[in-house]
């Protein structure tokens, strides 16, 4: 327990976090690329077509759509957790984490919406359907963009961090409320959904889970890269950043 706490505190040090993530990053990228390569091969070529609902090739969109949609939710929840850590334990690095998740999360939400729309055209015959999930995703995208807009509206970073952290927490309390409201509203008006009942057949499971793992790691890699940039940005004046920057340019001029 004490060890876990110490590690937690070390993570709060920008320098330690920057060095550690620098060591992890190549590995994460390596595994990400392998998983995505295998996953995409399976999902785009080697998996069977969907016959039961007559979706044919369009089912392949699912392998991108489902991980993106899952990550859009997970990303927002992770933001809120980091925001709570930042506000309660006054850990500044947590705010950098919140800020780093936001663009990746927004991108995943957009990807989920985009693939959902492309999927919707052959399935529903329209690019946009006010389906419960799609509508919730749209509102989630607004929440992400609201966070980013709020964070970039302050001249002082510490205020931006704290105010938008509160917004992230308020947002996460609202996500289930929004989701159930929209679902209730949707059943009232349409009673029409793509939700598939029953378990997924095993031949779909392998590519889906590979893609899920790959996309999660991709998300982590993107967040970490943004986080490293945030760390440098926020600690411009500290010595180790100066040393790191000058050491880097020396190496470049040497080559």
């Amino acid at each position: 327990m004490a060890k876990a706490w110490r590690w937690f505190h070390q993570l709060g040090s920008p320098k330690y976090l920057f060095q550690k993530t620098g060591q992890w990053l190549p590995w994460i990228w390596g595994v990400t690329l392998i998983l995505l390569a295998v996953g995409l091969y399976y999902s785009l070529w080697a998996s069977p077509l969907e016959a039961r609902q007559g979706q044919g090739h369009t089912v392949r969109i699912m392998y991108v759509h489902v991980p993106a949609a899952a990550l859009s939710m997970v990303g927002y929840i992770a933001m809120a957790i980091a925001a709570i850590v930042g506000l309660v334990w006054k850990m500044k690095m947590a705010f950098a984490v919140v800020r780093s998740i936001a663009p990746a999360g927004a991108a995943m939400t957009f990807l989920a919406l985009f693939t959902g729309s492309v999927w919707g055209k052959p399935t529903w015959g329209t690019w946009w359907e006010w389906d419960a999930r799609m509508t919730s995703e749209l509102l989630l995208l607004f929440l992400y963009l609201g966070y980013i807009a709020l964070h970039s509206s302050f001249s002082e970073r510490s205020k931006a961090d704290k105010a938008s952290a509160i917004l992230a927490i308020v947002g996460v309390i609202n996500i289930p409320i929004i989701y159930f409201s929209v679902k209730w509203w949707n059943t009232l008006h349409q009673g029409y959904s793509v939700t598939q009942k029953g378990a997924l057949a095993p031949e779909f499971q392998v590519p889906l889970f590979t893609m899920l793992a790959g996309m999660y790691l991709l998300f982590a890699a993107l967040v970490i890269m943004r986080l490293r940039a945030e760390i440098i940005l926020r600690n411009q004046k500290s010595r180790w950043v100066m040393e790191w920057a000058t050491a880097d340019t020396k190496k470049v001029t040497h080559d």
């Binding site: 001249s155 002082e156 970073r157 926020r234 411009q236 004046k237």
Partner: protein
């Protein structure tokens, strides 16, 4: 020249009055103060000086608790100011640059509001109105109680803000640039009232760009940058 970090380094806080311990304050990633110690004892007047942008106002706002320091604690009578038992916010009057008065309210309504907010219902309204008239007379703006705050001149508005010091019981005054834009007569009035407050055991900290001849100070504190 006394600087902020020249005080005692002891860990235990045995100081009456206001004590800021290991205070680190920054604005926009710019460190204004680092590990500063500051003691404002009862019955003393402290003059806080420094050039523009050195962080006088930030330091003062830190002492009010409005601005969270990056590090360090402010104690009032040996208790952290946020501690419920410190009673700090009951004892404190902070007059900022902004006058904190509503344009839509009359002078009397503005002053009554703050007095009631501080004292609850314990203030007898008739007495309070009499006190307000008295202070306004002392300040040379008598008869303006019923005028809207917005209708007053800048100098008169400033005087109204100062009137709060006479109407609300307190043990510590933090005054940000109280002497700026004041005429000779009001400066003398404020200096005299500050000395009176000190004589009753009050703690005073004020900022100013230049020395105030009318007001002898017990402690001078400078904020400066290397």
């Amino acid at each position: 020249m006394p600087s902020l970090s020249s005080m005692s380094q002891s860990q235990d806080i045995h100081f009456d009055g206001l004590y800021a311990h290991e205070l680190t304050v920054s604005r926009s990633e710019h460190v204004l103060l680092e590990d500063a110690e500051l003691h404002l004892a009862p019955a003393t007047i402290t003059y806080l000086y420094g050039d523009n942008g050195t962080g006088k106002t930030s330091l003062m706002r830190c002492l009010t608790g409005l601005l969270q320091p990056d590090h360090g604690t402010v104690y009032w009578n040996e208790k952290p100011i946020n501690h419920p038992e410190s009673g700090y916010f009951q004892d404190l009057i902070f007059l900022a640059h902004s006058l904190s008065m509503k344009n839509e309210l009359t002078i009397a309504e503005n002053l009554t509001f703050y007095a009631q907010l501080r004292c609850g219902g314990s203030y007898n309204n008739k007495e309070l109105q009499a006190d307000i008239s008295q202070v306004l007379t002392d300040l040379g703006i008598d008869g303006l109680e019923g005028r809207m705050f917005a209708e007053l001149s800048a100098g008169q508005q400033h005087k109204v803000a100062l009137a709060r010091l006479m109407l609300e019981p307190a043990k510590i005054w933090l005054l940000d640039e109280p002497f700026v834009n004041l005429d000779q007569k009001t400066r003398r009035w404020l200096a005299a009232k500050t000395l009176e407050f000190k004589a009753q055991g009050g703690v005073v900290l004020f900022t100013s760009h230049h020395h105030i001849d009318e007001l002898p100070v017990d402690q001078k504190v400078g904020v400066e940058h290397e």
